[in-house]
């Protein structure tokens, strides 16, 4: 175990350089630069408010905020897992030449998505202040479900990264899968409008639980029940354990397939 930690500390500067690279390249040659991480969700918000306050109407107060909060969580999951998936094959040139702990590439992608999450989370809070919704003290706890989503996404990301090295068509399948998953997560619709059977399916989706906890804390001044929290922690750790297991089982083979 201590050799693992030592190895991680030796390569910790690499992790920060990789994250910095991801962020830099994303906003290279744009005048506003990193400000886009904040502006993007804000612009999104404007569109959503126009669409949802005129066309679709559910009886939820501040429906645009409801959708935006769903997007913050879901987009993070989508972004983190999709970019993790290709992290190993995109760095093939490097992995073939130099010894680097391979999980660092997955970790770096999840971290850079996490930076984006922080920006869109800030944007969400700004919008809440701007539209003068009531802010409760539970808002301060809303980072807990977000951290759980990060752990969950890291696990799924490692699993996908390891599998994609072997089977490239997962890349194409996964984008279809996430589109489906978005509709199985209450991002743009309220849970209350679902008929019984579909409701069950949506509840089976781990993201639903994280998102509901997040919304309860940020909008409804409600603490998550112990059961929901335990389920969230359990699902996050299970995903992480599965991801790590598959990744470590296969990582020595990566080099032969990239």
């Amino acid at each position: 175990m201590s050799t693992y930690i030592k190895n991680f500390l030796k390569f910790q500067p690499l992790l920060s350089e990789l994250v910095a690279r991801d962020v830099k390249i994303k906003y290279r040659r744009s005048v506003l630069g990193v400000l886009w991480t904040l502006l993007n969700p804000l612009c999104m918000m404007v569109i959503l408010s126009v669409v949802f306050s005129n066309i679709f109407k559910f009886d939820i107060e501040n429906f645009p905020l409801y959708v935006l909060s769903g997007q913050v969580v879901f987009n993070f999951f989508n972004d983190a897992t999709t970019s993790s998936m290709t992290s190993i094959i995109n760095n093939a040139a490097l992995l073939k030449k130099v010894y680097v702990p391979k999980y660092l590439f997955v970790l770096a992608r999840v971290f850079s998505s996490f930076i984006n999450l922080m920006a869109s989370y800030t944007a969400l809070l700004l919008v809440m202040v701007a539209v003068r919704t009531e802010l409760y003290w539970t808002v301060f706890l809303s980072f807990i479900p977000l951290l759980l989503v990060v752990v969950f996404s890291l696990g799924i990301g490692m699993l996908l990264a390891a599998m994609t090295v072997r089977f490239r068509d997962i890349m194409h399948l996964y984008s279809v899968f996430t589109t489906g998953l978005m509709y199985l997560t209450p991002v743009i619709y309220p849970m209350s409008m679902l008929p019984g059977k579909i409701r069950m399916v949506v509840l089976l989706n781990p993201l639903t639980n994280y998102l509901e906890m997040f919304r309860d804390l940020i909008f409804n001044n409600t603490l998550p029940s112990a059961g929901a929290l335990a389920l969230g922690v359990g699902e996050g750790l299970a995903a992480l354990a599965l991801g790590l297991y598959v990744f470590y089982k296969n990582q020595d083979e990566f080099i032969l397939n990239i």
């Binding site: 990789l18 040139a93 030449k97 130099v98 089977f167």
Partner: protein, 244 residues
């Protein structure tokens, strides 16, 4: 004697599976598995190779193309895991395998210095201290804020060499790298490698230029089709190798 070895290669064999029909999609894999068409041809790139290098010594690997030299270096560097046998390395390693592999073409030269330094295990502060030296050695002073994609291949090699040879690593791995750059820069590189040797760095060196190998190395490993043909002092082996 084995205990003083900085690199000990112990009965190493490396097998590659060459799939007779390459498939990399899940669909194909399932279909082929069902039809039982998944077959592999085995290929042994290295078979039962053992040698060791003591601290301060330098080792050259010679052999024809496909004899397993690069595979050997990759195993020592930890990139590949040997199918059988064991490699023990004591001390830190600076790999200089194919210059510029660690560069991100979209980043500027300056940013790449820090990225590449991190790949070698140096943190930002250590790299700041070395930065001036790298710029000076690579002679790229006015190009440091230009993205590397706009560099010529000679410029890339110069920068990569300058980064890889900062500090005094215990082991430096060079795979065919001295054949880059112009005559003057090659001399500069050889000089720098010579200086590192004086400070006690062990060099693992692969080259097709026998003259270079003889100049730099004390010991030579001669590989032929994955087998160890000879291991011994540089002078003797170079003579035999040149005659064969």
């Amino acid at each position: 004697m084995e205990n003083d070895a900085i690199v000990a290669v112990d009965h190493v064999s490396m097998r590659f599976n060459l799939s007779s029909e390459k498939f990399d999609s899940f669909k194909e894999y399932v279909i082929k598995s069902i039809k039982r068409q998944v077959s592999y041809d085995e290929f042994w790139a290295l078979q039962d190779v053992s040698f060791h290098v003591e601290k301060g010594q330098s080792l050259g690997l010679v052999g024809l193309n496909g004899s397993g030299k690069s595979t050997m270096l990759k195993i020592i560097a930890g990139v590949l895991k040997p199918t059988r046998g064991r490699v023990t390395v004591r001390g830190n390693m600076a790999p200089l395998i194919e210059l510029g592999a660690g560069f991100d073409m979209d980043l500027t030269a300056r940013e790449n210095v820090f990225l590449n330094g991190a790949l070698l295990g140096y943190n930002r502060a250590e790299m700041e201290a070395q930065y001036e030296d790298i710029v000076k050695f690579s002679e790229l002073g006015e190009f440091m804020n230009v993205p590397v994609k706009n560099f010529s291949s000679g410029m890339v090699s110069r920068l990569a060499f300058a980064i890889a040879t900062i500090g005094v690593p215990d082991i430096l791995i060079c795979d065919e790298v001295l054949s880059v750059g112009d005559f003057r820069f090659q001399e500069k590189c050889e000089e720098r490698i010579g200086n590192m040797q004086k400070k006690g760095t062990t060099i693992l060196f692969v080259s097709h230029s026998l003259a270079q190998v003889e100049k730099i190395c004390d010991k030579i490993v001669w590989l032929e089709k994955g087998h160890l043909k000879m291991f011994g002092d540089a002078g003797d082996i170079c003579r035999i190798y040149a005659e064969s």
